[in-house]
Symmetry: C2
């Protein structure tokens, strides 16, 4: 059978669900989720299971120097492979689909092609990247960042975990310090299938998201110092209230997101007051501001307005405000051709589809640095994410995998 399109081809939904269930059972936690922090024994057990699945499918498995695992299925030609994949590490209270779904759907696609006897022109590759979540080692998306040459290997190996362990030591300990060098093979294209982790698809009744960008992120920690004082005896006009100033910031950023519109989101998710007592004007507040926008210009404008507001606030309330950047990533724009392909493939299969940005970070944004890349989203029930109750309907899981199958077939024919 040739590497032409096989429009009738479909993955086996039951087999996909069985693979997801098997990986879930490696390290289940209460509520139906998983805890596989990167390079722990639980992660090792998950890795060993997935590598076994890869080898059982006859794939050529390579492990690189930071533990990224790539399994290749040969094509008719020795050209750059079309790659899919994601990650199998999780946060402490992870769901069973986040990351895992994209990896296991890739393996299901391989088995589907094997069963149908389809050999593609280009090789196909399925990978999983080390420490995508960043829940044990910062930064997140570490493995894919090293894979594309964005972080030196030695620096990555010297990364220290929240529990004090060195990444390189942990890789060796669990037997995943491989020999394949980084940066890794540059794929012909990369497509990541993932659950949305947000509520948009479900709310709009759409099955497939054709992800055209990843929002840029600006995280700033603010420390506001005012004057702690008696809440009864201190007249309002004499206050330097760090708690009020912090609240003003949270209210301001809500308004800012409304004014800027588009994809701008803004959140004050963390705030600590000191001394945090009912009858004491807070003398100090530490809070975080999370700004995201798919447009770098938009993100810069949001930062400009926020910082301008802080300058005014410091004067009017008589407080000092210190800023510390916790994270700053420019938005990533995916390849329009691959995004179009995702959209057209979904429509051809009779699915509802919408183009959309990703609000969360993904390995795909790193691969986008080196090759044409896009993502496929399927709905997350109630938008729940990083939660054991994370859920996607089996029909949606199957739909996403079938879209990925035909996107990869099309790319592999190029």
């Amino acid at each position: 059978m040739a590497d032409t399109a096989h429009p009738e081809l479909r993955i086996d939904g039951e087999r996909l669900l069985a693979r997801i269930q098997a990986l879930h059972e490696v390290s289940p936690i209460d509520g139906g989720g998983n805890c596989r922090l990167a390079l722990t024994d639980d992660d090792l057990a998950g890795r060993d299971l997935v590598v076994t699945m890869m080898r059982d499918l006859g794939l050529t498995v390579s492990i690189d120097v930071v533990g990224n695992v790539v399994a290749v299925r040969a094509g008719h030609t020795h050209t750059a492979p079309v790659m899919c994949g994601s990650h199998i590490d999780t946060v402490r209270t992870g769901g069973r689909y986040d990351g895992n779904y994209g990896v296991l759907a890739g393996l299901e696609i391989i088995e589907t092609l094997d069963t149908a006897g389809v050999i593609t022109k280009r090789p196909l590759a399925v990978g999983f990247f080390t420490d995508e979540e960043g829940a044990r080692f910062a930064p997140d998306m570490l493995g894919s960042l090293v894979y594309v040459g964005g972080l030196a290997v030695e620096e990555a190996l010297d990364t220290v975990a929240i529990d004090g362990a060195r990444l390189g030591d942990e890789l060796s300990r669990i037997g995943y310090a491989g020999s394949t060098p980084c940066p890794g093979v540059v794929p012909h294209a990369f497509v990541e299938l993932h659950v949305e982790q947000g509520p948009v698809l479900e709310l709009e009744g759409v099955t497939i998201g054709a992800v055209e960008s990843v929002q840029g992120i600006s995280w700033t920690e603010l420390t506001i110092v005012g004057q702690s004082n008696h809440a009864g005896t201190t007249p309002m006009r004499l206050r330097h209230d760090a708690g009020y100033a912090a609240a003003s910031v949270a209210v301001f950023v809500r308004g800012l997101a409304g004014e800027l519109g588009g994809n701008q989101v803004a959140t004050v998710g963390a705030c600590d007051l000191h001394p945090n007592l009912v009858n004491v004007v807070a003398g100090r507040a530490v809070l975080t501001v999370d700004l995201r926008n798919t447009s770098e210009d938009g993100l810069r404008e949001a930062e400009r307005r926020l910082f301008g507001f802080l300058d005014e606030l410091a004067v009017t309330e008589g407080v000092t405000i210190t800023k510390r950047t916790l994270a700053r990533f420019e938005p990533v724009i995916f390849d329009p051709g691959v995004v179009d392909l995702v959209e057209q493939t979904a429509l051809a299969q009779g699915h509802t589809v919408r183009r959309m940005p990703s609000g969360a970070g993904h390995d795909a944004q790193m691969l986008a640095r080196v090759c044409p890349t896009a993502m496929v989203f399927v709905p997350s029930a109630k938008g729940l994410s990083h939660n054991p109750a994370e859920h996607t309907e089996p029909a949606d899981l199957e739909a996403g995998a079938n879209v990925l199958l035909h996107v990869m077939l099309a790319l592999a024919a190029e």
Copy 2:
């Protein structure tokens, strides 16, 4: 010498300071303050020192069933005494003047009268009340509340401390479970001399505050429940952000105080977000609102507007808001005759004086239930209170004690 006015009479400032220093040295903490939580061994040491001072002055000391201590100096008549006093317990990070000053100034006045050979018509009494701060046993002003019959003795004795101890057991343990019954003797009048605990007198360059009222207090704890969600993937329009709602409350009450004006103050001093992470929309917030006003009508209006705002906010943000009353006291208006007497006495001694409310609670507000009562305030440097750095200038301490002296002489002549 008769019980007529002795306008030339002045207390001994050095002796007053020495008494304050002696009590400070009983349980000093870093920074110059004291930690004498009610009915602890440190409180016992303070009590024993002050009782010794009382006995050394030949006063008749009685200890009542909740540990309030009253020392009486006989007058020419067996009429109701003119009483002054305060408390000697402190918060964990207490200053050396809060409470102690009013008690020790009373003893200094007794010694001044002894030295001058002045016998008043009415007896004079100096008292200190158990657990005014409420830092170990709730509520605060417990001893004076029982003294005036506002709380049953058995209920007071069964009060459990933050460390689990029963008040009655602690009284017995330290030997201050007295036999004098409560409610106690109703004084002819009560005057409490106290540091301001706020910045008003210092800022206005005024030496004496003639305290005409104590602000009413309304403390409400709010629990706001929204939906915890990903700060990147959740569109603004779909958020139910408990953190934003909490911030809105803090900003609203600041505006409320401005609109209502007068003595209205409003504070959100405590706020806890959950899960309190940079990239997660808060699903739950617990915060406190402290409203105070010298007018009960004003305080009710502030509560009405706050609660109306909360109802609107719950709808617009799609959150639930649960209210819990932590404290609610009506304002206390002191006796205009005694307030006038304080003001006139201060003026006659050449001091600047202003009538003012007290923003903090004091034993005097309990005594005001049973007899004509007022307070005398002296400046607190920078308004610092419940802080080891609490400070009042010696000249101001002396001025306040001299005002108290002549106010008591005038009242004792009635």
